[in-house]
């Protein structure tokens, strides 16, 4: 076979067989793969003086700017409109998406994204609104934010919410800054440590460190929960907060949650809850009833704003009575002239800890999330949690016939966690299995997370999957399990065979980082090399 000498593949091509066509040794004459077009970079299409936008020449020169004017070429290619449409549509076809099939990434809550929400967010009354135009001209936008805040407060049983954080990790940052401000106001600013369970999302310790806290870990019990004895031993006058995800990242509800919050409060610390898994309990359990002081809510998870290939998200933070005065600006308050914004930490907001970002937060996401909430209502949201949990337990039950659940006793919540004990001796790893799942038409599950479970496979189906899609997924997993156990290692080591790309060399990418295209780059050809 022809193979570039530039690459150092992590996985060998299957036994030297020509696989550039990836379909039983067949290769097209020109290197394409049927209707799946290979697509060069925009920088390789030669459009250095092309534009896809008809604009007139400016009526004045820029002489008034003197030597502030950019004279050297910028280095931006252009595409005509038809070329641009083709470029991006061709690229899009190399992506998997929730609109194509089950997307069982644990902890990510990949659920259906209703198109009504897209339509609503694009109403000119929301999309074409400037963040700094007079509030007298944006009363509907403020009312929408106020309405969203009301739903979030009722659903969580918490009295206040900071809307501005732009994603989950930004919400964590907001929550910890609120806690820090509250401690400082009480003369407790000397508390320096945040306790985080070993199973926590990476953002939890990263955020605590970002705020200047030391991070200490809380051990986990054999049944996948916070070790109360370890927590109690570590709680002291030095602890500012604990950060606990509930349901946790093993997909389990923290049974001792009330005791966890009691112990935490007794030690003078605050309880930060990572709300990434709120989808499992929405409409059934109020975090406020569990003693939570602050919790971010990923609107892009529970409330279905689209993930967009990595954002934008939104991470509003609900707050307890004790923390509410410290919430960051802006605040929305009502007054005699309707709703208004408090944009500085002064007056009523004198204790606000500061500002998380310019402007009012992710309005586009607020509209989508409220459309989703209104569509479901109180009854539909409760059904969301029930069906999400039902779907996960169904997958757990069906796959447990061939795979080893990490915590076999009792039900899981919205996600099912397996370890890799069942793969022992097969020569197949969790990574191999995940890549082979791509060949069967599914996005892999979350792998090797949480870190506390060996070779973890975390499967979150969400409530928007029909039973037959769950069955199709389970059938594929069980077939792969059988193949692994019958020593069909070839299927796994070379996987994926049928995806737009074979396994990519991440080591090469990291060792010699090439992060931008540059003129004159000698590079690997974009098209697959034809067979010799």
């Amino acid at each position: 076979m022809a193979m570039s000498n530039v690459g150092r593949p992590t996985a060998p091509a299957a036994n030297g067989r020509n696989v550039s066509g990836n379909s039983g040794g067949f290769a097209s004459l020109t290197g394409g793969r049927g209707l799946l077009q290979d697509e060069p970079l925009i920088f390789e299409e030669g459009g250095w003086d092309k534009t896809g936008v008809d604009l007139p020449e400016a009526s004045a020169d820029a002489a008034d700017l003197g030597d502030l004017v950019r004279t050297a070429p910028i280095g931006l290619p252009g595409l005509s409109e038809p070329e641009a449409v083709r470029h991006y549509v061709r690229l899009s076809q190399k992506n998997h998406a929730i609109d194509l099939a089950l997307y069982p990434l644990g902890s990510c809550t990949m659920k259906h994204n209703p198109r009504l929400n897209e339509k609503m967010a694009r109403l000119p009354g929301f999309a074409d609104l400037h963040p700094l135009q007079p509030v007298s001209t944006t009363q509907g936008a403020l009312a929408l934010m106020d309405r969203l805040a009301h739903w979030l407060k009722v659903l969580t049983g918490m009295p206040a919410v900071a809307l501005t954080p732009k994603a989950g990790a930004h919400g964590e940052l907001c929550g910890l800054l609120t806690i820090k401000a509250a401690h400082e106001a009480k003369g407790q600013g000397h508390r320096r440590t945040v306790l985080v369970p070993t199973s926590a999302h990476g953002t939890n310790p990263a955020t605590a460190a970002f705020v200047g806290y030391d991070v200490a870990e809380i051990a986990q019990t054999d049944d996948g929960r916070v070790d109360l004895a370890d927590l109690e031993a570590k709680l002291s006058g030095d602890i500012a907060a604990i950060m606990v995800t509930n349901p946790n990242t093993c997909g389990l509800f923290e049974r001792d949650i009330l005791e966890i919050s009691r112990l935490t409060h007794a030690a003078g610390a605050y309880f930060y809850c990572d709300g990434a898994n709120f989808n499992a309990i929405v409409g059934r359990v109020k975090p406020g009833d569990l003693g939570v002081d602050a919790m971010h809510i990923n609107l892009h998870k529970t409330f279905s704003t689209p993930h967009g290939g990595g954002g934008p998200g939104a991470g509003p933070v609900v707050l307890s009575e004790a923390l509410a005065p410290f919430a960051p600006v802006p605040w929305i308050v009502s007054g005699p002239q309707g709703l208004r914004l408090i944009e500085e930490p002064a007056g009523e907001a004198a204790q606000a800890f500061g500002r998380m970002c310019a402007f009012q937060g992710q309005m586009g996401m607020f509209v989508r999330a409220l459309a989703y909430m209104l569509s479901h209502g109180a009854d539909g949201l409760r059904q969301v949690a029930e069906d999400a949990v039902l779907n996960a337990n169904y997958i757990k039950a069906r796959l447990s016939t061939a795979m080893t659940p990490a915590f076999p006793q009792g039900p899981c919540m919205h996600e099912a966690l397996f370890d890799d004990a069942w793969l022992e001796g097969t020569g197949v790893t969790t990574l191999d299995l995940a890549k082979a799942l791509i060949d069967e038409g599914f996005h892999p599950m979350t792998m090797y997370f949480p870190l506390v479970v060996h070779g973890a496979m975390l499967i979150e189906p969400t409530e928007t999957e029909p039973k037959r899609e769950l069955d199709r997924f389970c059938d594929a997993m069980l077939a792969l399990a059988e193949a692994a156990k019958s020593r069909d290692a070839e299927r796994f080591k070379g996987a994926p065979h049928l995806a737009p790309m074979r396994r990519l060399d991440e080591t090469l990418a990291a060792r010699k980082p090439k992060l931008t295209w540059r003129p004159g780059d000698t590079t690997v050809a974009p098209a697959p090399l034809a067979a010799e």
Binding site: M3, A13, G52, C108, F353, C357, G377, E506, A510, V524
Partner: protein, 447 residues
């Protein structure tokens, strides 16, 4: 409920397979005390028609920017976005995919990110760019913290020309990490005071151009002074279209450039979602925050793209990560990249020139309004004027006349003592009729 596919018989069958009798059995780990038997006090589910009616009603209470003469800028700009952009970002494969952790089935998103990074590097005149931040203000805070990691110094000097929201965000976030933030006084020509504030403990200097008053500045001398003291220069831009006309941060000696990318490809959205641009010198790449997409090859030697250098990131490094950022602004970055590909260098330069020409038209028109003083000497598409009395009151009065006359500086920083300063921006969407309506309204309300 139209988004929930399971039928009652599906549910019964599934409970049977699981081996429990009811849904409640699956929630048995929830403490009795926290189980809610009744529905929450919120309205019941609603059909599309009802939801659309309710939200359209709220939207109708607002006055969209496009409804008439409109002159707000100050960090968000109303530009025309080609229809193609919104069509493509609504394709299922872009809209409904996750962060590209599985590169074999995410090459679409990854190649776009690689192209985006290259475009951002070209615009800013720097070698490397990341795959986006939440917005310009948080990118600014991240840049300051990156300077701390690079220099191992604690002090950041923020120019008085930096957008006050950016300064406040940076102060909130970077201060929490233990940095000392020095905010210089807001002033039209604030850059002049920056150089003398630099000392041996300075990690970075943050300068915005065009600044919040619209003033375009050559920061070369500030770069030299910062470098002489061993500090980094961070250049901020809130209007990305300005890169089509003005010298790039890299050309003027910036080590890190951050910008708000909203004005290319993205709507105003009342403040978000936007997209933060973040670029730096190549030697600093391992201290950068956020995701980076890099080129590699697959098992067949074909070129492909992956997220790389992830040992900087929270999911690998946890408390030792360069930032806690995870979800960023992928779809807004896609919109930015599509719009910029459509523009190309030719289109961007033309667009920038049109914006600048409009601003000159605005300047000339405002010079003719009695009682106004134009303050901005060299500008791109935004200018500051001194008005008689309160700029906020003037804006309210003009709004009653159907003209949104701009942003009173006091809205951004009420303690600066600049209550009589009004910021006005124009773009290619501003017509001569809009400008005439503005001057008419101003002349009427200024007595």
């Amino acid at each position: 409920m139209r988004y929930l596919p399971l039928t009652p018989s599906d549910r019964a069958e599934m409970l049977d397979v699981i081996g429990v009798r009811s849904i409640d059995d699956l929630f048995r780990d929830v403490p009795e005390k926290a189980r809610n038997k009744a529905l929450f006090d919120l309205p019941p589910h609603a059909g599309e028609l009802e939801v659309e009616r309710e939200l359209s009603g709220l939207a109708a209470l607002n006055r969209p920017a496009g409804a008439g003469p409109f002159f707000c800028g100050a960090g968000a700009y109303r530009h025309h976005v080609p229809a193609t952009v919104d069509h493509i970002i609504q394709r299922s494969e872009f809209l409904t995919s996750y962060t590209p952790y599985q590169p074999e089935i995410a090459q679409g998103t990854l190649q776009v990110l690689f192209e985006f990074q290259t475009q951002v590097a070209a615009l800013t005149g720097l070698e490397v760019a990341n795959a986006s931040m939440y917005d310009g203000s948080t990118a600014c805070a991240e840049a300051v913290m990156m300077a701390q990691r690079v220099t191992r110094r604690e002090k950041a000097i923020l120019s008085g020309g930096l957008h006050p929201h950016y300064a406040a965000t940076t102060q909130t976030i970077a201060h929490a990490e233990g940095m000392q933030i020095v905010r210089l006084s807001a002033a039209i020509d604030a850059e002049a005071a920056v150089i003398q504030a630099i000392d041996a403990g300075t990690a970075c200097v943050v300068v915005q151009t065009p600044n919040v008053f619209g003033v375009a500045t050559d920061v070369t001398k500030i770069a030299e002074a910062a470098h002489a003291a061993g500090a980094l220069l961070i250049v901020v831009a809130t209007e990305a279209v300005s890169f089509g006309l003005l010298k790039s941060p890299g050309e003027m000696g910036a080590d890190i450039a951050v910008a708000e990318g909203q004005s290319i490809g993205n709507a105003l959205n009342y403040g978000g979602p936007y997209v933060g641009l973040f670029a730096a010198r190549e030697k600093l790449v391992r201290q950068m925050p956020g995701r980076l997409c890099g080129e590699t090859v697959d098992a067949d030697g074909r070129r492909g793209y992956v997220l790389t250098l992830s040992t900087r990131e929270q999911h690998i490094r946890r408390e030792k990560a360069t930032s806690n950022i995870c979800t960023n602004s992928g779809l807004c970055a896609l919109a930015f990249s599509i719009h910029l590909s459509l523009l190309g260098e030719t289109g961007l330069r033309r667009l920038a020139a049109i914006n600048h020409a409009k601003a000159r038209e605005l300047q000339a028109a405002l010079t003719g309004v009695k009682g106004l003083e134009v303050l901005t000497p060299r500008f791109f598409n935004e200018i500051a004027v001194r008005v008689p009395g309160s700029a906020a009151g003037l804006v309210e009065a003009c709004a009653a006349e159907g003209v949104i006359a701009g942003v009173p500086f006091s809205r951004l920083d009420p303690s600066a003592g600049l209550d009589d300063v009004l910021l006005l921006a124009v773009t290619e969407t501003t017509t001569s009729d809009h400008i005439a309506a503005l001057t008419a309204a101003l002349s009427k309300v200024i007595r």
